[in-house]
Amino acid sequence: MSIKVKNLSYVYSPKTPYEHKALEGITFTIEEGETVGIIGSTGSGKSTLVQHFNALIKLQEGELMVNGFDLAAKKINYKALRRDIGMLFQYPEYQLFEDTVAKDVAFGPKNFGFKKEEIDFLVKEALTLVGLDYDEVKDKSPFELSGGEKRRVAIAGVIASRPKVLVLDEPTAGLDPVGKREILELIHNLKNTYVKTVIMISHNMDEIAEFTDRVIVLNERYLIHSTTPEKLFSDQNSLNGTGLRYPHVVRIQNLLKEKGVDIELEKMTVDSLIDEIENKILK
């Protein structure tokens, strides 16, 4: 079970004056169990690419296999595909609509044909997993909740259908630093326990460096890198022309190097950086 993309191209509004090439000749593979980050500046085609995975955007050109579904085929079982590939959009709290939190979370499982008892169980499980108190929030209106809580409810609404792959489009956008951290840790925990594969679009390189096993870099509709964050960010020229910046830890590491302090990072996290600096100083 994996995602295989081969020579995928996509054009918006073809043959009109608004024609716009969004993706061209994209080829890569995502194996089951990976956490993959997709980065690129605005308009580089990230969202268009991931929306291919659950057929929200129809494949125009190229080959695409997702969890055994051939998306170039004439007939696709959309329900089965979309149950397998959970997708969380940007600002997902704006898609909440039911009068209670529990009903909203149940929307997905209900559409995917789970049984009544199963749904009750899944809703409870999903809400607990995202760190909300089921009994407290289940009868509340989603609109009474705070921004961070709303986003948790939206995430619960996606994972309640038990997807195998979770695709997240900028899951932390618009949250405060603490909220960001909490959501990221939540995704990390889900990855270890609940979903098998996580694909995450982000503009925040720190998040990418810390939480992903592999990074796919898109630049003006082309794929320019598909490698580990360590390799990507240790190469000083890898992001040239993309408008993307390096993670803070790497930038600090590079500044220290300029001043003659050479440190090696074990992991691309702030903790690891602090440890290394302490080691250097205390030595």
Partner: protein, 279 residues
């Protein structure tokens, strides 16, 4: 994506028609519509159609995309045509279905109504295809200025118009986004009977309304923050100016209406009388 929306959208090419002053375009449009309702004979319709086709050709908008706008009204056209066939009884009788008569006069009348509707939509579509929403409201505001004398808040009307026009694509995009999000959660919008489909709209409509109200709130604040209406007489950054080409277009409009009146009154084509008695 809202990019996929084509109905009545601005078509960005450079042409004589695109460059015309929006006020002139409005005036010509009015004249055109008056013409559409004034014509009596088939030759008159030919004049109107020729005017529409010629304008489209000059505007360099592909005729096919203008014709696409007819898709939306095809039902109304057929409906009015069918109704008119039965309600007008005059002249030779072709068929009788029970008490309903299909007559020569009825058929011609229905044809005329259908033609009128089609020509009407073609002309107005050309206006929105060749004029940006901003230019449209600017032109309308200038044309309505005399109404300020009788205390009609023309400027506010124009602002309301331009805001609503501006928000159509934004809301369309919002709808697309919400639909995608709900589809990802297994929602289906094109399956089942009428009731099921109507129910399926709820997960789109509720988030859409909430977001529309949120946007309205934010916009009101933004207008306030920039002191909207603090000064009674706002000056303009881009002033509308008439050019030589606007005069030419004006003459074309005048020629059009004169021609229609002439054809209607059979001024110089005496042979007209013999052809079709009801057209």
């Amino acid at each position: 994506m809202a990019r996929d929306l084509t109905l009545g959208q601005y078509y960005p090419v450079e042409s004589f028609v695109h460059k015309l002053d929006p006020r002139i375009k409005f005036i010509i449009m009015t004249v055109y519509i008056v013409g559409v309702f004034l014509v009596k004979h088939i030759y008159g319709f030919a004049v109107v159609a020729a005017f529409a086709i010629l304008s489209t050709l000059i505007s360099r908008v592909p005729i096919l995309s203008v014709l696409k706008s007819l898709k939306g009204i095809i039902f109304i056209v057929i409906f009015t045509a069918v109704l008119n066939v039965f309600f007008h009884t005059e002249g030779k009788v072709y068929f009788t279905i029970g008490k309903l008569l299909i007559t020569e006069g009825g058929v011609f009348f229905a044809l005329k109504m259908a033609l009128r509707l089609i020509l009407l939509v073609l002309g107005t579509t050309l206006l929105t295809y060749t004029t940006t929403p901003m230019a449209l409201t600017d032109g309308l505001e200038r044309l309505m200025t005399p109404l300020t004398w009788i205390k009609i808040p023309v400027h506010d009307i124009a602002i309301i118009m331009s805001i609503s026009l501006r928000f159509i694509p934004i809301l369309m995009e919002e709808v697309q986004k919400i639909m995608k999000a709900q589809r990802a959660r297994g929602a289906e919008f094109d399956r089942g009977g009428l009731v099921k489909r109507a129910k399926a709209l709820l997960p789109i409509l509720i988030p859409l309304f909430i977001s529309a109200f949120r946007r309205a709130d934010e916009l009101a604040l933004a207008l306030d923050a920039r002191c909207y209406n603090a000064t009674p007489n706002r000056t303009r950054y881009k002033k509308l100016k008439m050019h030589y080409r606007d005069f030419i277009a004006f003459l074309a409009g005048a020629a059009y209406i004169v021609l229609i009146v002439a054809v209607n009154n059979k001024f110089w084509i005496p042979t007209l009388t013999y052809s079709f008695p009801f057209i």
